[in-house]
């Protein structure tokens, strides 16, 4: 395995930054988990820790997508990137912006009064979940993404090889960029604020990002087992089509109780219940295609690809559908059930996706034919088993909370401090297991291809 075009190596810059942020994300995740037991455990309050945890997550996944996309676009266009210097500039600009934003969060955590108003927007932290980054940073991020998209589009235009995979991948990325914009305006009404906020959050993870996942799944099946383009592209269109047919109106599952009209109960309930179908198709696609081929070119890559499809379905599809009907959501809305789903969905759908892309493309970038897969498998099992247990634990906490607080009418704080205490303790313990998995992965990432391969696949 070697790369065909020198500029594909740029993917590695992005991967490295992503992997390091992943480590940060999980470290602060453990601090957040301990704060459920001792709120004053750390110098920074829970809200700042949580902001760091979820922003690191979103940013590292996006950065991972960018690296993967540069690789794919060059490969599919059969040419060098339009401008390597631009890609490098865009990378470093992103690193500098993100680092500044993180410092801002920490300052704001220590001195809340520093979060002053500048031109009507907050200087350090916008105070809106997931999109806490202040407006000036939003603008810089948008510019960076536009430069990235420009570079990709110009690369495709060089040879005009509009393969289905690149069309869908870039289409998904454009949709992603567009859906960032509704989060960039101030609404005086908290109802409107949350209405537009969900455009970003929901139409990202259940729209644009799933499109990207569909395109990359097709790409990875081609690279790991030499699946036929004709076939995987047809599957891809069906999958991403169904993602949008169900997912766009599925946004309604967030418009049940925020002050929006009642018809959303119907729209959201019906369409979001159908959202698991395309995710199930992805699993079927992965298995069918794998069974039809004999020569596996990258065992680890394939392993992660298939696991990605499975856990996308379990985390987003199954753990999503259990609380998506309004009759159920009325009781579980905003409880730990939501957290359980959030974790398994992000892990299954996107953490494993970026990791799979790394294992599919990194050997070629590092110029090795084979590599020792043992660390890749170890980290997979440490992470996956720990995550499954975190999710089961928190699902338990959510069931207790729903029953005692929502059905019996006990106080929120009483349930959290007394009845759910053991769940918090177990989550923190499994969190350490997850961290071990991430640690193994980080080591593997830096060592892959740089030591002699022992085990022959």
């Amino acid at each position: 395995m070697t790369i065909k075009h020198e500029s594909q190596k740029i993917a590695q810059h992005f991967y490295t930054f992503a992997v390091l942020l992943f480590l940060v994300q999980v470290l602060v995740g453990i601090i957040a988990a301990v704060q459920f037991i001792w709120p004053d455990f750390f110098i920074l309050n829970f809200n700042t820790i949580r902001t760091l945890h979820i922003n690191a997550l979103v940013v590292w996944l996006l950065v991972g997508f960018m690296g993967a996309t540069y690789y794919v676009v060059s490969e599919e266009s059969e040419t060098e990137l339009w401008s390597l210097p631009l890609a490098k500039f865009q990378f470093w600009a992103t690193v500098v912006t993100i680092t500044t934003v993180v410092l801002g969060y920490i300052i704001m955590g220590l001195y809340p009064q520093a979060n002053i108003l500048v031109f009507g927007t907050r200087l350090l932290n916008e105070g809106r979940e997931y999109i806490e980054a202040p407006r000036w940073a939003d603008v810089l991020i948008v510019i960076s993404v536009l430069l990235f998209l420009l570079n990709c589009a110009m690369t495709v235009l060089k040879t005009k090889k509009w393969t289905g995979i690149q069309g869908v991948l870039l289409g998904g990325l454009v949709f992603l960029a567009l859906m960032y914009l509704p989060g960039m305006m101030y609404a005086k009404s908290m109802v409107k604020d949350q209405f537009w906020w969900w455009w970003v959050v929901h139409l990202w993870v259940e729209g644009a990002w799933e499109i990207i996942a569909g395109a990359l799944l097709a790409f990875m099946l081609m690279k790991t087992i030499g699946a036929k383009r004709e076939v995987v592209e047809k599957w891809m269109y069906v999958e991403v089509g169904l993602v949008l047919f169900t997912g766009i109106l599925g946004t309604g599952h967030h418009y049940y109780w925020i002050g929006t009209p009642e018809y959303w109960l119907w729209v959201g309930g019906i369409f979001s219940s159908l959202e698991p179908i395309p995710l199930l198709l992805m699993v079927w696609n992965a298995f069918r295609t794998t069974r039809e081929t004999r020569n596996v070119e990258n065992k680890v890559g394939l392993y992660y690809t298939v696991a990605n499809a499975i856990f996308n379905f379990v985390g987003a599809g199954l753990w999503g559908i259990i609380h998506t009907l309004p009759q159920v959501n009325k009781w579980t809305h905003g409880t730990q059930i939501t957290t359980a789903h959030g974790h398994l969905a992000f892990y299954g759908a996107y953490v494993l996706l970026v990791m799979a892309m790394i294992y599919v493309t990194l050997p070629a970038i590092r110029g090795v034919k084979e590599f020792n897969p043992s660390r890749a498998f170890q980290s997979f099992w440490w992470m996956t088993i720990s995550m499954v247990f975190i999710v089961l634990t928190i699902t338990g906490a959510g069931m207790v909370q729903t029953y005692m607080e929502r059905l019996m009418g006990l106080d929120y704080v009483a349930v959290k401090a007394n009845y759910n205490l053991w769940f918090w303790i177990f989550r923190a313990i499994f969190g350490v297991g997850f961290l071990i998995g991430v640690g193994i992965f980080v080591v593997d990432y830096f060592k892959l291809g740089k030591e002699p391969a022992t085990a022959r696949a």
Binding site: T51, Q113, V238, G259
Partner: protein, 229 residues
């Protein structure tokens, strides 16, 4: 179907659903104002403070946010303003067990935040959060409530106080209060809490009728350790 046909189906189908979504969005935007009270300067200032302190980093509002601390949608409806103001400015001074840190919220900001929370509590949320069905059911069956228990319920004391595991945790628990305080203390405290507990965040109930005060006090006095029922 050829790949080209599936591709077209994907593109035009998605556009079709997006157009429907836009139409619904347009319709919703037109209906929102009727489902919520007017947004005054104070309400907006309160919302700005909500963002400034990143309250959503711990709390949910309309059920969205983080799950570390209670939902704020209906707080202003349940808790007295005096209490909220004191708590916002210095949580641990009101309730030493509170997890919420002292963020440096000023007196003016606290007023605005309360105005904002009063606004959210009046938004039509299609009946969310739902009334706890089991608690409601338990209240209907079983034995007749005493006059004091009825007053306790109608005044909403359980929003802050807990008795036998039911009620809020923001104020002291009352399960055994009858063993700790006598009649004079209890009645006097209802009329003017801060005369008995310095800097108390509890609102004064001096405007209650004499009978109501007595009923409440009777009820409090029954709350004792096992032995007396």
């Amino acid at each position: 179907m050829s790949n080209k046909a599936v591709k077209n189906l994907f593109i035009y189908g998605s556009l079709f659903f997006f157009v429907i979504f836009l139409a619904l969005t347009f319709d919703t935007m037109g209906k929102l104002d009727k489902r919520a009270p007017e947004i005054t300067e104070d309400v907006n200032a309160g919302k700005m403070a909500w963002h400034k302190y990143d309250c959503i980093g711990c709390h949910t509002i309309f059920g969205n946010g983080s799950y570390f601390a209670p939902d704020m949608t209906k707080t202003a409806e349940k808790k007295p303003k005096e209490y909220l103001k004191k708590f916002l400015m210095d949580p641990k001074a009101v309730n030493p067990q509170a997890s919420m840190p002292k963020l440096g919220i000023s007196s003016e900001e606290a007023d605005k935040l309360i105005a904002f929370l009063e606004w959210t509590s009046k938004v039509d949320t299609n009946g969310w959060p739902p009334k706890p069905i089991l608690a409601t059911a338990a209240g209907v069956g079983g034995k007749e409530l005493t006059a004091g228990q009825k007053t306790y319920q109608s005044l909403g004391c359980s929003a802050c106080h807990m008795i036998n595991g039911i009620g809020g945790t923001t104020a002291p628990e009352l399960t055994y209060v009858g063993g700790k305080r006598d009649r004079a203390w209890l009645t006097g405290h209802f009329k003017n809490p801060s005369a008995y507990v310095p800097n108390s965040a509890m609102p004064a109930y001096g405007n209650l009728k004499e009978k109501e005060l007595n009923d409440l006090t009777d009820y409090m006095l029954t709350l004792k350790q096992e032995g007396k029922k």
